[in-house]
Symmetry: C2
Subunit: 316 residues, 2 copies
Amino acid sequence: MAKEEEKGECGGWKEKGHENGVCTADASAKPITGDENPQPPGWFAEYSPLWPGQAHFLKIERVLFEGKSQYQHMIVLESTAYGKVFVLDGALQLTEKDECAYQEMITHLPLCSIPNPQKVLLIGGGDGGILREISRHSSVVHIDICEMDMMLIDVYREFFPEVAIGYDDPRVRLHIMDGSEFLKSAQVGPEHEIFGSPFFETVAKALREGGVMCIQAESLWFPSLNLPKLIHTFRNIFKGSVSYAWTPVPAYPSGVIGFLLCSTEGPHVDFTRPANPLDHHDAGSSFGVAKEPPKFYNAEMHSASFCLPSFARDCV
Amino acid sequence: MAKEEEKGECGGWKEKGHENGVCTADASAKPITGDENPQPPGWFAEYSPLWPGQAHFLKIERVLFEGKSQYQHMIVLESTAYGKVFVLDGALQLTEKDECAYQEMITHLPLCSIPNPQKVLLIGGGDGGILREISRHSSVVHIDICEMDMMLIDVYREFFPEVAIGYDDPRVRLHIMDGSEFLKSAQVGPEHEIFGSPFFETVAKALREGGVMCIQAESLWFPSLNLPKLIHTFRNIFKGSVSYAWTPVPAYPSGVIGFLLCSTEGPHVDFTRPANPLDHHDAGSSFGVAKEPPKFYNAEMHSASFCLPSFARDCV
C-alpha cells in the first residue's frame, strides 16, 4: 500500500502514538462482570442456549395474556417493533411481523417440491399458521395435525386470528395428542414395524415412496450446527434426498432459521427446484382459507433458500 | 376443521374458560414502562434508529481498546459470541464472526458482475476488509481508498490484522480525505461538470460506461425501506441497471443487510448473474493478500442474494 497523505488530511491520532486513545489491550485488562441474563423492565429478552452470549430484545407495550397450561407457560405481548408476540416457556415462538417467513417456507419448501401432495401430517405447529399455508394447496385432500396442548390453540385463536385461521380449513383434522403416538396408531402396512423405533425412523416408515418431511433445523450461524453430520444422519434414515435450506426471520436468534428436508426412497425429489410452484397452479391466493396471498414465499426464494455460504456449503 | 379429541388427551385449559390463564386483554391493561434504551453492565446493546423497539445484545468479556479521534469514538470489545467487535460512535461496525458476509458480498457482488474490473474506488471501509476482498481480483490494477480517519485504520491494524491485511496489497493507494473531495479532484473529462453536484451524481459521472457502484442499503425488514423509491431514484441518476440484494449478517439489526447496485449507461450489466465468477478465474484464493479463500461468497450466493420475498419483490 502506498500512503498519499499529502493529498488529504490526517486525523488527530498519530500512528502508534495513541495520544487520543486509551489502550487497555494489555494483560491487566480486567474481565467485565455483569448480569448473566439481564431482563430490563419493559423489554422481552431472549437468550438462545444454542448461541450463548447474545440476546434479542423487544420493547414491550403491554402484556395481553399470561397463562399456564398443564404443559407450558404462555405469554402474549404487544411489542413496539414486531406487533403481537407469542412466548412459550420463555422462548419467542412467533411474531406478527415476521411469522410469514417461517410459516410459508417450512410449508411450501416441502409441498412445492413434489408434484401432487395429497396427505399432510403436521406435528406441533399448534398456532395454525402452517395449516393456513398448507390450505393454499388444492391437491391436498387431508391434513392431520397433532398438537398436545389445547390451551395453546385457544390462545392463538383469540390473539392471532390471522394465524389460527388455518384451523378453518375443512380438510384439517385436529388430534390433541403426541405426534409419536399418532404415528404408531396410524395405518402403515404390516411390513412396517414402527413400534419402538426412534421418532424419525417412525416418520420415514409412515411416509409413502418419494414422500417428504420438513423440520426446523439450526441456524447456519450457530456454532453447534454440524451440517455434514446432520445430513448424513438423516440420509441414513430417509434413504432419499436430504437438503438444508435457510430463511431470514429477524425475531429468531441470529436472524435466520434453518430447515432440513428429507425424502424417502422412490421418485427422486430435487428440493431445490419447485416441481409444483405455488405461484402458478393456485395463483398463491385463490385457494384455501388464507385471506391474503403469501407474503414471503415465491419460487425464486424457494431455490435461493438452498444456496449456502461457502463456509457451510464446502463442508457438506 | 374436525376435532378428534377422542383420539387424544385435552390440556388443562377448557376452551373459552381461561381457568388457568390470567387474561389481561382488556382496555384497563396498563402499558408497561421501563428504560427507553437499557444498557445492562457486561453487555453491549445496539439500538437501531431505523427499527426502534428492538435491540441486539452482545455479552462482553473485556474492553480491548477505547479511544476518540477528531472525528469519532471507537471501542474494541472482546465478545463471547462474535469474537472481537468494533464499535464506532455506539454503533456496531464489524465482528470477527460475521465480517466475512458483509465484506465479501459488498465487494464481489459488483466486481463479479462485470467481466474485467480494473480500477476500484472505495469510499469509507477504512477497516481494510473490502480491500482484502478486492485484492482477490487479478484483473484489478489500481485501488483507491478514501478514509477520513487515520486513527480508525490504525486501530483496525492493531486489533483486526486479518481484516486490515487488505492494506498490504501494493495496488492500494490510501487517501486520508473525504470521498467527495477526492472525486471532485479526480480526472474526469472536461465534459463532466461535477462540482456542486450531489454525491451520487458525482459518483455516476466519475464512472466509465458500464461501470458499477455498490452501497449498503437498508434491511428488507426495516419499516422505512422504500424499495420502489430507492430504485427509481438511483435509476434516474445512474441510467443503467439498478438492483437490490441482501445478505444475512447476524450482528446487524434484523440479521440481514441490504445492498444497492447501480451501473451507468453503456454495456448492459445483469447484476444477478456473475459475469466474472470469483470461483473460477482466481480460484478464490490464489491471488491477493488474503490468507484464506472467501468464507461466504460464491456464485450461487451471488444470484440468490437478489431473490426477494414477495412482500419486497412485488412492490418493485
